[in-house]
């Protein structure tokens, strides 16, 4: 029971990092990405590779994961600079589909469909962390650091610039703001921090494969942000906790078909997204309607 609860804490913390970082570009910069799982995956694969081939210290695995994701995110920033929300959704959807193909085909790095096995546990200053209860400290601390970073960014002049762009791109540009630069930086930051979640995920499960980094994962993270409340601080956390608890809640009710937990979970959050948009577009936490 204890291990079960700490396992949930870890998964919630890892997905909350993803939701918080996606909320950063969705809620503040107005970049609606369906490719967040790509950076999650790249972070996981990179840190797994570093842990197996170099050293499993998180001082190595996490920075390596962040750098890889930051580099790839430039590829996503490129179309984001050219087009508005509608069209960017298409570009990110394409990138996600392409990434899944690469993750399943690049066998020397990702292990193909089979995935990467026997990833060493996270090594924090020489101590190996593999018990869920101990790992929970690591994952929650990581979440707090990521949140603090994003929060500081949002309340800095950079964050004000982002919100200005979100409200009116041309107005921000006419005030001399370098819109493409600000957008690029926000995408890079979001991707690099999402890779932290990937690094934690790889060392926590010690096994990863492409299943965790598909379009479904990107959609799940997007649902967390939206259901919790886009552009709010607490929203992504609430959304992540709610959606990660959903499978356990479903298994609580015996009358529901237990073999269909995954499908039921998706139906519930799909329905949740639609109903919220009709009746409460700001999400659970958000009070006023957000554009």
């Amino acid at each position: 029971m204890e291990a079960y609860i700490f396992n949930l804490v870890n998964l919630i913390a890892i997905y909350a990092i993803l939701a918080v970082t996606l909320n950063f570009i969705m809620g503040y910069a107005g970049i609606y990405s369906l490719a967040h799982a790509v950076f999650f995956g790249l972070g996981a694969y990179t840190s797994a590779w570093v842990a197996q081939n170099v050293h499993p210290s998180i001082l190595l695995t996490i920075p390596a994961a962040m750098m890889a994701a930051a580099a790839l995110s430039l590829l996503l920033a490129l179309p984001a600079l050219r087009v508005r929300g509608e069209y960017f959704v298409a570009a990110s959807l394409g990138l996600q589909v392409l990434a899944v193909t690469i993750f399943s085909e690049w066998k020397s790095f990702t292990g193909g469909i089979g995935g990467v096995l026997a990833i060493p546990p996270a090594n924090v200053f020489g101590i190996e962390v593999f018990k869920p209860a101990h790992f929970a400290i690591l994952s929650v601390v990581a979440l707090v650091i990521v949140m603090a970073l994003i929060n500081a960014l949002v309340h800095s002049s950079f964050g004000r610039n982002l919100r200005a762009i979100h409200d009116s791109e041309s107005a921000a540009a006419s005030f001399g703001k370098n819109v493409p630069m600000i957008k690029t930086i926000s995408v890079v930051i979001s991707a690099a921090l999402a890779a932290v979640a990937g690094a934690l995920y790889a060392s926590y499960l010690s096994f990863i494969n492409v299943e965790s980094f598909t379009l479904d994962a990107s959609v799940l993270v997007m649902a967390m942000v939206i259901i919790g409340g886009t552009g709010t601080v607490a929203g992504p956390i609430v959304g992540a906790a709610l959606l990660m608890l959903l499978p356990s809640l479903i298994s609580w009710f015996d009358f529901l078909p237990q073999t269909e937990i995954g499908a039921l979970q998706q139906i519930i959050y799909g329905l949740g997204m639609t109903l919220l948009m009709i009746f409460r577009p700001g999400g659970i936490v958000g009070r006023r309607a957000k554009a």
Binding site: G30, Y32, L78, P79, R82, V83, R84, G85, E86, Y87, V89, A90, A91, L93, G94, L95, V97, L98, T101, S104, E105, L215, V219, M222, A223, I226, T230, P257, E260, A263, L264, Q266, I267, Y269, G270, L271, G272, M273, T274, L275, L276, M277, I278, P281, A289, A291
Partner: protein, 289 residues
């Protein structure tokens, strides 16, 4: 020989892509609703056909079921989800998320009812015939191309020669002016959804008999529809048509160089190139900005 074979297959795929994408493009162009659940319309049409046909009820009832399912879904979605959202706010993002949610629900419901694996409808028409030595074409390829020509021809006639069609084009240009002329934008939007959803039906049926279906195919359909809409130029039905054909051909001809799992990468590469080099698309008037 292989090149000819692939070109014919590509034409077949491209024709179906064009039909599906034009449905989305028509809806998006005229109502400005980012109808992401268009992929779900495809899934509903395809599985309704598969279900009724599999129950042995014959071809015509199956086609009717697919058509009714698709149109009812499109029109009801417009009425029950998009209309209320547009009444109070209607930003792109809100509509997109609502639509996306519906798509997820449909995909999983279909998966629970019909299973998540690949299914195909077997017809005698799926069997390939040797056209010229080394080139095999199934009669379905010709049916696909013919269907596309008929449906898109009818669409052009509808848009240019009928009052409703002209009203639809007017809505795309200026919704306020439409209201001034005493037409009801909501009624026209409903028509756009009905027509756009009907266009998906032949593509869905033929796909179920050729490459097969799974409940997650809606995402692929959406990627193609979005890509064709953007590559063709937003708001240009003819552009989307051309782009659909182009994407199908490119995907198929790419097999000369790469393995089949990379076909979606080809779509993505073309989309990416257009977004960066020519965001206005092949025949687009306005830029994407």
């Amino acid at each position: 020989m292989l090149a000819i074979q692939l070109a014919i297959t590509g034409l077949q795929t491209g024709a179906l892509y064009a039909l599906t994408a034009v449905g989305f493009s028509l809806i998006f162009g005229s109502t400005r609703i980012f109808h992401f659940a268009h992929g779900a319309t495809f899934v509903i049409a395809a599985y309704f056909f598969y279900g009724v046909f599999g129950a042995g009820l014959g071809l015509l009832p199956s086609i009717a079921a697919a058509g009714l399912g698709a149109v009812a879904f499109g029109v009801l979605l417009d009425r029950l989800v998009y209309a209320p959202i547009q009444r109070h706010e209607g930003s792109f993002f809100t509509v997109f998320v609502a639509s996306f949610g519906v798509g997820i629900v449909v995909q999983n419901l279909i998966g629970m009812v019909f299973g998540r694996g690949f299914v195909t409808v077997n017809t005698p028409l799926s069997r390939s015939v040797e056209m010229i030595p080394g080139v095999y074409v199934s009669p379905l390829a010709w049916i696909a191309i013919l269907c596309t020509a008929i449906f898109l021809g009818a669409l052009q006639f509808f848009l240019r020669r009928t009052h409703t069609g002209m009203a639809l084009r007017a809505l795309a240009d200026n919704p306020e002016l439409v209201r001034t002329f005493g037409l009801n934008p909501r009624m026209i939007a409903a028509t756009a959804f009905a027509v756009g959803s009907v266009l998906v039906v032949p593509a869905a049926i033929i796909t179920s008999a050729t490459t097969g279906l799974n409940p997650a195919i809606g995402h692929h359909v959406m990627l193609i529809s979005l890509a064709a809409t953007i590559v063709g130029g937003i708001g240009s039905v003819s552009g989307t048509m051309l782009a659909g054909l182009l994407l199908g051909l490119a995907e198929s001809l790419a097999l000369l160089v790469v393995d089949s799992q990379w076909t979606e990468a080809v779509t993505f590469a073309i989309l990416f190139a257009f977004i960066i080099i020519r965001p206005a698309g092949l025949l687009g008037r306005a830029t994407a900005h």
